[in-house]
């Protein structure tokens, strides 16, 4: 990792007590399974690690992961049915002690899961703290296997249990207690509030989401296939990031839930990291990206985040933590009189017409292919345009027969293929901008309606919700 003297400072003190040279922690998962791994991760630049969950005795099955590939890209989403650490507790404790001794400045958090008795929790808390863990993360989120035995998400889905067990842990704990939340619940704030009531010092979110990633269309067995049978697993990776961000925002915007938060869910690069911090996270936990590419990815996470901070004038994480929370509100407060329209930059358009078909089939039929026709053709449907094109007679241009010059520079996009936006009809939905493959070709630009801010809430209060907006 390249560091410069004037570089922004990424260090943090999580929950006021857990020091870490940077916010990037390994999530409790296979990458933090043993001391040898965690030490190599720290060497690569990771600031902390949440040790793979220790506690109850388990056995694992063979065939544990499955994934979602998308358009040739591997592991957009990863599913696992692996349980907590299947190594003997004493070995894990010994290795935590050894790692903490050799890396005193790095954060080591012990992830814990035991049967739901006060004694069991008191014992494991004492064992973890005795070997030097900087904090404790209560695994109330694991959605497969352990939940069938009354642990993991079976606790995290019932606010009363979560509050009770958090309370037991707090009776014994000397280090910060972090409650890891499951997303497999109607409203994540219910359990966040319960954890806070139980005395939790911090939260982490989200754990994995219940999932079946797919079914083998030859064997008809869902993946992963364990001897002809499968079971639902926990879903993570880039695909879950939007869900995680939303839950993070819900927790951090709710005074009864809000605690120091360790963000988890599809964080793969520094941009993801910045987004979680902007919604109020302090530390960040990463698993899938490491499982895909190895510990080395942290280099660009640190480098990219520092460069972005320097560019934006942020010198510490606290300078921007939570800044986007103020820019997030409930729908009813959004300005109904704000209007944007799509504009197509003709010089950048490559003529794929993806915006055209998206607008016709998926939006509001206000993009037309009529720049080269005489007058607007707003009634030409996609089928009509395609049919005309199929009727055209094309021939191979032969230099000798067609008097053409070879080596001609390929000309720009023909006018007929550059779509036109009917700005009067455009509702500013963004779809064309989202499907356009060219950066900066379709821009969404604000147009003045000449009207002041007006929200649905205001209309509801003034009884004008039935009037058509201008």
């Amino acid at each position: 990792v390249i560091s410069r003297a004037d570089a922004p400072d990424l260090s943090l003190l999580f929950a006021g007590k857990i020091a870490s040279p940077n916010p990037f922690w390994l999530a409790s998962a296979p990458p933090s399974n043993c001391g040898e791994q965690v030490m190599r991760a720290f060497d690569a630049g990771w600031g902390g690690a949440v040790w793979k969950t220790i506690g109850a005795q388990v056995a694992n099955v063979s065939s544990r992961y499955s994934s979602i590939d998308w358009n040739g890209q591997r592991m957009m989403g990863l599913n696992n049915i692996e349980l907590i650490s299947d190594r003997p507790l004493e070995i894990n404790l010994k290795e935590i002690a050894e790692t903490k001794k050799r890396y005193p400045k790095h954060a080591i958090v012990a992830s814990l899961m035991v049967e739901s008795t006060r004694d069991a929790w008191h014992t494991i808390v004492r064992q973890a703290e005795d070997v030097g863990a900087d904090g404790l993360e209560l695994n109330f989120g694991c959605p497969h296997g352990m939940s069938e035995r009354g642990m993991g998400s079976a606790v995290g889905q019932v606010p009363e249990y979560a509050e009770l067990i958090t309370g037991w842990v707090k009776e014994a704990a000397r280090t910060p207690v972090i409650v890891k939340l499951t997303p497999n619940i109607s409203d994540i704030r219910e359990v966040a509030r319960a954890a806070k009531r139980g005395g939790a010092d911090a939260l982490s979110a989200i754990n994995t989401i219940n999932s079946i990633t797919g079914i083998d269309l030859d064997t008809l067995v869902p993946r992963p296939n364990v001897g002809g049978k499968s079971t639902h697993g926990g879903y993570c990776g880039p695909a879950v990031k939007p869900i995680a961000l939303s839950m993070v925002q819900q927790i951090q915007s709710d005074p009864e839930s809000c605690l120091p938060l360790s963000g988890i869910g599809g964080i793969s690069d520094w941009r993801d990291a910045a987004e979680f911090i902007l919604l109020g996270c302090s530390s960040l936990q990463v698993c899938t990206a490491v499982m895909h590419y190895g510990y080395r990815i942290v280099e660009d996470m640190i480098d990219g985040l520092k460069n972005w901070m320097a560019e934006k004038g942020f010198s510490r994480l606290e300078d921007f933590r939570g800044l986007s929370l103020g820019n997030t509100t409930e729908w009813k407060h959004l300005d109904l009189n704000y209007k944007i329209v799509a504009r197509i930059n003709e010089s950048k358009c490559i003529g794929c017409s993806l915006c055209y078909i998206a607008c016709w089939d998926g939006a509001h039929q206000c993009i037309h292919l009529d720049r080269a026709t005489e007058g607007p053709r707003t009634q030409s449907t996609p089928a009509m345009i395609e049919a005309a094109s199929r009727q055209s007679i094309a021939t191979t241009p032969i230099p000798k027969l067609d008097n053409m010059r070879s080596n001609e520079e390929s000309p720009g996009t023909p006018l007929a293929r550059i779509p036109r936006v009917d700005e009067q009809e455009c509702v500013g939905c963004n779809l064309c901008n989202l499907v356009c493959p060219v950066d900066g070709c379709i821009t969404m630009e604000e147009v003045s309606t000449g009207l002041p801010y007006e929200s649905w809430q205001q209309r509801a209060e003034s009884g004008t919700t039935n009037e058509k907006s201008v």
Binding site: C352, S389, T395, T396, N407
Partner: protein
Amino acid sequence: MSMQETVRLNRDLTAQFPDLHPPLGTQAAVVEANRCLNCFDAPCTAACPTHIDVPRFIKKIATGNLKGSALTILDANILGASCSRVCPVGVLCEGACVLHRYNKQPIEIGRLQRYAMDDFYRGEAQVQKRSVSDRKQKVACIGGGPASLSCAAELRQRGYQVTVFERRTAAGGLNAFGVAEYKLRFAESLKEVEMIKGLGVEFQLGVSITGESDLLRLEDEFAAIFVGVGLGTMRTLGIPGEVNAAVIDAVNFIESYKSGKRASINGRVLVVGAGNTGIDAAIASIRLGAAEVTILSRRTDKQMSAFPFEYDHAKQEGVQFRWLIRPVAIKQTADGSNLLECMKTLLTADAKATTIAGTNFPLPFDTLISAIGQAPLLELLHHFRNVELDHGRVVIDQETGRTSNPKIYAGGDCVNGGREVVDAVADGKRAAIAISKALEVSE
């Protein structure tokens, strides 16, 4: 021995003529297929003379639906396999790809098409008929090349009784005998003919339609006739001494090595004419053992009729080019060796080549290949009743392929003067659709 058997025995060609564009592996095909943007009303589809729905067949490769992909291709172009190999994609589908304006890397449509077609021919290799009911009306297709095959397949798929008349003992036309071996092998062309045969098209091979009486008989027996006879023999150089065993024409030369009659060519080879056929002959000469191959043209690379990518390929193969040279006579020395007497030329303002007096010089050669274009097949075309010709080309209505004789349709090289296989396929298909419409009315 039949032509097919001769070709099958000639196994050395694969080693001498490896694929110019090797097939894509499965992983590479899927990665490439995923790169396609899936444009609406895609320019590649519009640029293809047969309007293959390119994004549709490519996305089917991406989803692993190879059968659907192949049938999408064949629905538009029954010779999808040979076209995937021989099409000058750079000036057709790939030339129109919007990615030229995105990251300068167009989708490899030709190779993806070949990937789907290779899978098809490894498997059941049979398409479904479009119509379940058979029709009684009979249509004759004269010539067994791409235009006729396309017309015959389309009509047969619509239920008509179709007979193809081919003078050679194997159908396929230039696809079988005229395309450079490193682009399309004879065996691949044959698979397509077999598939069309499987549809129920009847092939009368080794049958020459020559005179007026043959044509009258056909007009009598068949409800409609499609003329896809292609072009005639290569034009002669028209210089003294041309009748010489060491002087051959490019079309015959290519046919002779593809059919196994010729296994090698030695010494110094001169190719007259810098067109695509001249380049095919020149490259084949190198692969077949020629010591030195030179293409002569009376004009320059600026006026060359070959595609630029063909020119580049020839240079890579070691073919030499000599511009602004015009052959004027062929002579033999006392010891029996051959000399081509040439003159230097000058280009006028409108790029016409004129010889410069006093610039005569000799070029020794062992074989001279003429490649200055094929002449129209006038000896046959003149016999068609009421069929208008223009400069030796059959005049048709572009949309229907109908000639001035309402019962006779035409397409391919005999109409367009010599374009690509895909143009012939498009012509044949348009004519078939028009014939089908006309016969439906008369039914």
